[in-house]
Amino acid sequence: MDWGFIIERTLSTMFGIEVVVFALAAVGLNVQFGYAGLLNFGQVGFMAAGAYGLGVTVYWLEWNFWIGIVFGVLFSIVLALLLGLPTLRLRADYLAIVTIAASETIRLFVRWRRMKEVTGASEGIGEFADAFYELSPFGEGVRYDLGPFSYVGRDLWVLLVGWVILLLAVLLVWRLMSSPWGRALKSVREDEDAARALGKNAYFYKLQALMLGGVLAGIAGMLQVVQKGSIQPDTFNPVITFTIWAILILGGPGRTFSPIIGAMIYWCLIVFVENFLRQLPAGPADFLEDTIELSVLNISQLRFMLVGLGLLLLARFRPQGIFGSREEMALDDR
C-alpha cells in the first residue's frame, strides 16, 4: 500500500474544488438553516438554477458569459421566491417538503426532451465557459508546483477564483450576521412570535435569507459547471443536498467558518477511505469482495451510506455539530 500517495491525495483534497463548491453551497445553507432556521432540502435545485441560468444564456440565447452569470444569480432568486412565497408563512416542515420536491422536478424539467434546444436535455451543455478561461493568467496546460501539490493551469485558475469567492462569501455572511439585519434574523429563528411582536416582519426576513442562501448555492453551482466544462442534468442529484446538510451539521450550523471546516472534514474522510479501500493489498481486498461484495465499483455506494448514517447519528446525538455550540444551534423546534 502506498501511504504517501493516499496522504497526498487526502491533503490535496483539502483545498480542492469539491471543498470550495460544497463549502459555498453550505455557506448558503448556513444562512438559511443555521441563522434563519429554514429547512431547505433542495439546495441542489438552487445549484442547478445557477448553473442552468448561466448555461441557457450562453447556449440558447447565445449571449455573453458574464450576462450568463447575472442570469444564474437571477434564476436562483426567482427559485427562492417561487418556493418561499407559498411556504414560509407555514410551519417549517412544509418548506422541506416543497424544496425536496422542487429540486427533483427541476432535474426532470431540464432533461425533458422538448427542452433540448434550451437546456440540451439529457446531453447537457458544453463549451460555455471560454470567456472565463481567457482571463486566466496561468498557461492552460502548464503544470504549476505549489509546495507539495501541483496543479494544471486551468484548474489552478478555477481554484483561485473559487477560494476568493468562498472567502468573500464567508466574510459577507459574517458581517451580515453581526449587523442589525442578522440579529433580527436570529431572533426570528429563536422565537418568531417575539420577533413579530417587536414589529419585525418575520416572513420577509425568512424570504431574504432563503434568497441569499439560494444565490450562494447558485454561485456554487456555476463554479462547479465551469470547472467541469459541461452542464449535465444528472449531476444535480438529490444526494448532493443531503451531503451539504451532512457537511453543515458536521461543522456546526450557525457558525461562520463551519461550512469550510465541515467540507474539509467530509471530503478528506471520503477521499481517504476511498483511496485506502482501493489501495488495499490483494489479500484483504479479496476478503472484502468475498464477504460483503465490496469492489472498486461499489465503493461510492458505501460513501452515500456513510453520509446517511452520519447525518442520522449527528442529528440524534450531536445536532450542534462537532464544533458548534449548543446555544447557537441545537436544531430546535420552532
Binding site: L90, A96, F109, R113, Q301, G308, L309, R316
Partner: protein, 465 residues
C-alpha cells in the same frame, strides 16, 4: 418511557448499543438478494432475452405485429448477438448466462410510420439472473415518435381518457396505501418521515427476495434447502411475507431509533433530519445489495392485457387494484370501529388530550409504525408488479407528499383522498403534456394546495400554524 430520570450518560451508551444492534438486524434482514443473484448458476443452453413487437392500429384497435426488426443484445464483457423479429413480431436472443445486458432495437429496421413510443428507452438494460428468461418491452406506436409513455399521439379520445383514468386509479390506490402510514405517523408523533418511501422500496425488494430465494434462501448458507425454504416461493405468499417484513422494519425503526429519540427529547426538526439520513442510508444499502438494474418478479411478469370495453388492463393489475380497495376499506373500518383504530384517530387529533384520557400513546404509535410500514411494503409489492428498482421509493416520494399534503397532513382519510386525486391528475395530465414530465403536476398540486388551503382538504387549520 420513564427513562428520563436515569443518568444521561448511561442512556446514551445504551442508545448507541441499540443503534448498532439495529443496524446488524437491518443488514441481516436485507442482505442477500444481491449476493445470491451473482452466484446462482446458469442453465446449460443459456437463458434468453425475448419479447414481441406490436403496435396498435388506431382504426381497428387491433395489435399488428412488426416483422424483420433487428434486436441487438450486448454485454459489458464483449458478448454480442442479434436477432430479427418473426412474422408474429416475436424475437428471442439466447445469452451465455447471468448478467446485465443492453438490448438495442435498430430503429432503421422499423417499417415506415412505426416508431418507438418512448425513444429514451432504447437501448434497454435487462438483467438476467437465476438463469431464467427475461422479457423486454419496446412499445411501438404508429405516427410521430416519442409522444410520451402514454402516447399523446392519439389526442384526446374517449378511449384514452378511459385508459388513463384506470391507470390513474391504479396509481392512486397504491399511493394511498403508502401515504396512510406517512400521514398517521405525522399525526401521532408530529414527525415528517422522509424515509417512508424507502419502506415502499424495501417491500418490493424483500418480496423479490422471497419470490426468488424462498423463506430462508436469502440467508446464504440455507440456500441449498429444498423449496419452499431454499427455493423461490410463489409471489402471493412472498408478498405476505414481504408485508410482514415491512411491519418488522417499521417496528424496529420506531423501537430502536425514533422512540429513544423521542424520550431523549430530540427535537422534531432533528428527528426530521434523522429520517433524511435514514432514507439515504437505506436507499444506498438497497442499491448495494440489489444492484442498479431494474428486475421483475418471477411470477406474473409477462401477462397479456385483457381488453374490457375501451380499456386494456392486465389481470394482475385488476387483482392488485381489487385487493388494495379491499385493504383500504379494511383500514377505514378498522379506524372507525375498533378501540385501537379510535385511539389512533384520537392521538392523531390531540396527543395530550388522549394521553390524559388514559390512552397508551406509545402503544398507539408502535401500532401506527408497524401497520403504516407494512401497508407501505405492500404498496411496494403492487408497484413492483411492473418493475422492481432500488430507487423506486424516492421516485414516488414527491407524489406521496403531494398526496398527504393535499388531503391534509396527519389525517388518514385525507391521505386516501389526496392519493386518488394525485394519481388521477398525473395520469390524465398526459393528455396534454409528455409522460416524461407528468410528475411535475404533483409539485404543482403541492404548491397550489399550500397557497390556497395549506391544511389540505380534510385538515384543520390549526395544524399548520
Amino acid at each position: 418511557m420513564t427513562t428520563t430520570d436515569r443518568p444521561q450518560a448511561r442512556m446514551k451508551t445504551r442508545n448507541r448499543q441499540r443503534m448498532i444492534r439495529l443496524l446488524v438486524v437491518l443488514a441481516g434482514s436485507l442482505l442477500v438478494p444481491g449476493l445470491l443473484a451473482s452466484s446462482a448458476s446458469a442453465q446449460e443452453d443459456g437463458p434468453a432475452i425475448f419479447g414481441s413487437l406490436k403496435y396498435e392500429d388506431p382504426d381497428s384497435g387491433d395489435d399488428l405485429p412488426v416483422e424483420g426488426v433487428t434486436i441487438e443484445v450486448t454485454s459489458a464483457d464483449g458478448y454480442e448477438e442479434s436477432s430479427a423479429s418473426d412474422a408474429e413480431g416475436a424475437f428471442r436472443v439466447t445469452v451465455p448466462g447471468n448478467g446485465v445486458y443492453s438490448v438495442t432495437l435498430d430503429v432503421e429496421t422499423l417499417p415506415d410510420g412505426v416508431n418507438l413510443r418512448n425513444p429514451d428507452r432504447n437501448p434497454l438494460e435487462s438483467e438476467v439472473n437465476d438463469g431464467s428468461d427475461r422479457r423486454v418491452l419496446f412499445p411501438l406506436v404508429l405516427g410521430e415518435e416519442g409522444e410520451g409513455g402514454g402516447g399523446t399521439s392519439g389526442g384526446i379520445t374517449g378511449r384514452r381518457v378511459a385508459q388513463l383514468t384506470v391507470e390513474g386509479l391504479k396509481q392512486g390506490l397504491y399511493l394511498a396505501m403508502a401515504a396512510i402510514g406517512l400521514s398517521l405517523i405525522f399525526g401521532t408523533t408530529g414527525l415528517v418521515n422522509f424515509a417512508h418511501a424507502e419502506l415502499v422500496t424495501f417491500g418490493m425488494i424483500i418480496t423479490y427476495g422471497f419470490n426468488f430465494y424462498g423463506f430462508a434462501g436469502m440467508i446464504g448458507f440455507l440456500a441449498p434447502l429444498p423449496g419452499p425454504f431454499g427455493d423461490g416461493v410463489n409471489l402471493i405468499p412472498a408478498a405476505i411475507l414481504g408485508m410482514a417484513a415491512g411491519g418488522v422494519v417499521g417496528y424496529v425503526l420506531n423501537r430502536f431509533i425514533f422512540r429513544p429519540a423521542r424520550s431523549a427529547g430530540v427535537s422534531l426538526i432533528a428527528q426530521l433530519v434523522m429520517t433524511i439520513g435514514l432514507s439515504i442510508f437505506l436507499r444506498y444499502l438497497m442499491l448495494y445489495l440489489f444492484g442498479g438494474a431494474p428486475r421483475t418478479f418471477k411470477d406474473y411478469s409477462a401477462q397479456t392485457a385483457w381488453s374490457i370495453g375501451p380499456i386494456d388492463v392486465t389481470p394482475k393489475d385488476l387483482v392488485a387494484m381489487g385487493l388494495s380497495i379491499a385493504i383500504l376499506v379494511g383500514v377505514a373500518s378498522y379506524l372507525e370501529l375498533t378501540r385501537m383504530g379510535k385511539a389512533m384517530r384520537a392521538v392523531a387529533d390531540n396527543r395530550e388530550l388522549s394521553e390524559s384520557t388514559g390512552i397508551d400513546v406509545e402503544r398507539v404509535i408502535t401500532f401506527v409504525w408497524v401497520s403504516g410500514a407494512s401497508l407501505a411494503a405492500l404498496s411496494g409489492v403492487f408497484f413492483g408488479l411492473d418493475q422492481v428498482k432500488w430507487d423506486f421509493g424516492f421516485r414516488i416520494l414527491l407524489l406521496v407528499f403531494a398526496a398527504v399534503t393535499l388531503g391534509g397532513l396527519g389525517t388518514a382519510y385525507g391521505a386516501l383522498v389526496g392519493a386518488l386525486v394525485v394519481g388521477l391528475a398525473i395520469n390524465l395530465s398526459t393528455l396534454f403534456i409528455d409522460a416524461e414530465v407528468k410528475n411535475m403536476v404533483a409539485l404543482l398540486i403541492l404548491v397550489v394546495t399550500l397557497l390556497f388551503r395549506p391544511q389540505g382538504i380534510l385538515g384543520k387549520s390549526e395544524r399548520i400554524g
